[in-house]
Symmetry: C2
Subunit: 383 residues, 2 copies
């Protein structure tokens, strides 16, 4: 696929796993790729120079948070999210669907949209598919996600089905508004989101409905909202093989190294999650020997770097586990900064090795090298 | 002066102002110089690579804080403060005198030393001149400060005189213990501290007593503890001209751009203060147009960098005041990071221009270029 400054080129396969390049108006993203989350217009603890040095190609901004503060008009007037953040690489904005539907107590849903209270100033805020697309157009990311109805768990089949059907009706409205605002030709692609919970037939129907729109890319949503790992995998199994091969496939809000392998083996290309940044702020480091919690007293005199195989600035500078533990115990922000940088680099390096593994037909070997260990915690979709 | 890996070379004068180079075992420090404060083994918000890029040559660690946590034995075993922090440039440790004597309510002073409660675990801690020199030896900075009695304000003449005399007796003990532990030949110089409050005759007597010891450098202490600017200047006026010309002169805990000019014009070479870092964390930026408080609503749409003349990474990247205000309002740590980097660089650039001004005999012109403005707040001696 190649059009209007966007492209997806499939370079190699290993089973259902794919490696390729997703091209956007702001640059190329070798896939599979991990996108660090810049909720409020910043990847917490990272300058844009840090992100470049860590190997970030594309990052994510949160429409919900940026609408509430500082507001999309201000960001648009200051050069869009690229100019505002000073990040000249590719950006994707989520649609706020996940955040809005997590506000169980304060939101009111109707067929036209959702009304909720601003956490910033208590004001009543109205999101409709059209309004969200307008906000995302003002933010000006390379990729705008469609506004979907993400069903909260627990949901019975009827609840999931209703949310999925509404997602399809809302997608029609998103596509129309996106086109009215200039479509891809103004430099922003729209990705549709497949829902359907852990019901294989609903997922299959959702893929059919969503891919009836000829979009630059497609996402699998409604995972990582509290369901079991088996349910997540079933959802991907039902959706991914039915998505067009010549478009990038994005799994929302996932996750951990194991999640990546599981999803990539099922044909997923793009990921976002707060794990590396949030874990970095809570003294947890990803390493090739498994997770480290730097609060643990056993690291008090540990002179080793976080991961002897790591090429991140934290490890290369020689910062020891003992020093990082000291920073953590002393609540020094440098601890959060150094661990965040390490974790983000670790995720990008994992993805680079996965891409190489797929290209060489050795993804299984990469998996066995990177996943001998237990993992820190499950993924968490917002910060 | 040149001995045991330490040297001070005076290169030029402009009135009483001096420019030169202070050489330590870990490198050269062009003077006048500003030392960022790394209280707990980290300059808040800065990696050592950041500090290098910002132009930091020498930094300061706090003996009091590092003794309480993680303890000097651990730091010694992990390569001293240089190895622990991964900073291979010059370091100076204060002696904790200022902190200990600020603990008005919990400290007990006698001729031999001071007993106080640890803020970390409530344990009783005893500092004597010998003990402090042992702690500083374990920390292993290039320069160890003598343990002095810093009189709290308000103090009458009798109180200041008693503290000054005790500082002299304690210096004898510091010098003896420092020599017993190997003296300068193990790579650590001892600086003596002149006291005497704002009494010119006490300051003169203190200089005489302190310089009776042949030390690598001397400091003027007991300023920046709440007295007026005129009192600080009187104290420097009484002390600085009597200090030996071939040794570096350090003014403890000062301060702001105006303080620097005032002190440098009186012959001071070295400074430390938390202003750039603390102001950075409270949304205040130093600029050539005067101080900015980024919380101010007038910056909400201000697309300018903090300072159009600044070459710091924050300004060069093009981060706008509007974006920095957004980060501050959103309590994002990137705001503190970017402002801290800007402020530290701003201080170092100011010192570089002052050095050039002295070398060219144009210090007054540099002052008029850099001080057209009011200043944020007075200096604050600990963080």
């Amino acid at each position: 696929m190649r059009r209007n400054g966007f492209a997806y080129r499939l370079d190699a396969r290993d089973g259902a796993a794919r490696t390729g390049v997703f091209t956007t108006p702001h640059g190329d993203v070798p896939t599979p790729a991990f996108m660090p989350v810049g909720t409020k217009g910043t990847v917490k603890g990272c300058t844009v120079a840090d992100l470049r040095a860590l190997g970030t190609t594309m990052l994510l901004g949160n429409t919900y948070h940026l609408h509430l503060r500082p507001g999309e008009e201000l960001i648009r007037d200051l050069g869009g999210l690229h100019g505002f953040m000073r990040w000249d690489g590719p950006i994707l904005t989520d649609s706020g669907g996940y955040q809005v539907f997590s506000l169980e107590d304060t939101r009111k849903l109707d067929e036209d949209g959702v009304t909720f209270r601003s956490v910033v100033d208590g004001a009543s805020v109205r999101f409709t598919p059209e309004r969200v697309i307008e906000i995302e157009a003002a933010l000006g990311a390379d990729v705008a996600m469609a506004f979907d109805h993400c069903p909260s768990l627990p949901s019975d089949r009827a609840g999931v089905e209703a949310a999925t059907e509404r997602t399809h009706r809302w997608l029609e409205r998103c596509v129309r508004r996106h086109r009215e605002l200039g479509g891809e030709e103004r430099g922003q692609a729209l990705f549709g989101i497949v829902q359907g919970g852990s019901f294989a037939d609903l997922r299959a129907r959702s893929v059919e409905a969503v891919t009836s729109h000829d979009l630059v890319g497609y996402a699998v949503g409604g995972v990582s909202v509290g369901e079991t790992r088996a349910e997540v995998l079933a959802a991907i199994d039902a959706a991914a093989p039915r998505l067009p091969e010549d478009r990038p496939r994005y799994l929302l809000g996932v996750g951990t190294p194991r999640d990546f392998f599981d999803a990539i083996e099922r044909g997923i290309d793009l990921f976002d999650c707060v794990t590396p940044t949030r874990h970095g702020r809570t003294a947890q480091a990803f390493t090739s020997e498994g997770p480290l919690n730097l609060r643990n007293a056993k690291y008090a005199r540990d002179e080793r770097p976080l991961d002897a195989r790591c090429d991140c600035p934290t490890c290369v500078t020689g910062y020891t586990r003992a020093y990082l533990r000291h920073l953590t115990k002393s609540e020094e922000m440098l601890g959060a900064i150094l661990l965040t940088h390490h974790n983000i680099r670790w995720f990008h390096r994992l993805m680079a090795e996965i891409r190489g593994g797929i290209a060489r037909g050795e993804l299984a070997r990469v998996r066995s090298e990177w996943l001998p260990q237990a993992e820190p915690t499950t993924s968490q979709p917002a910060e």
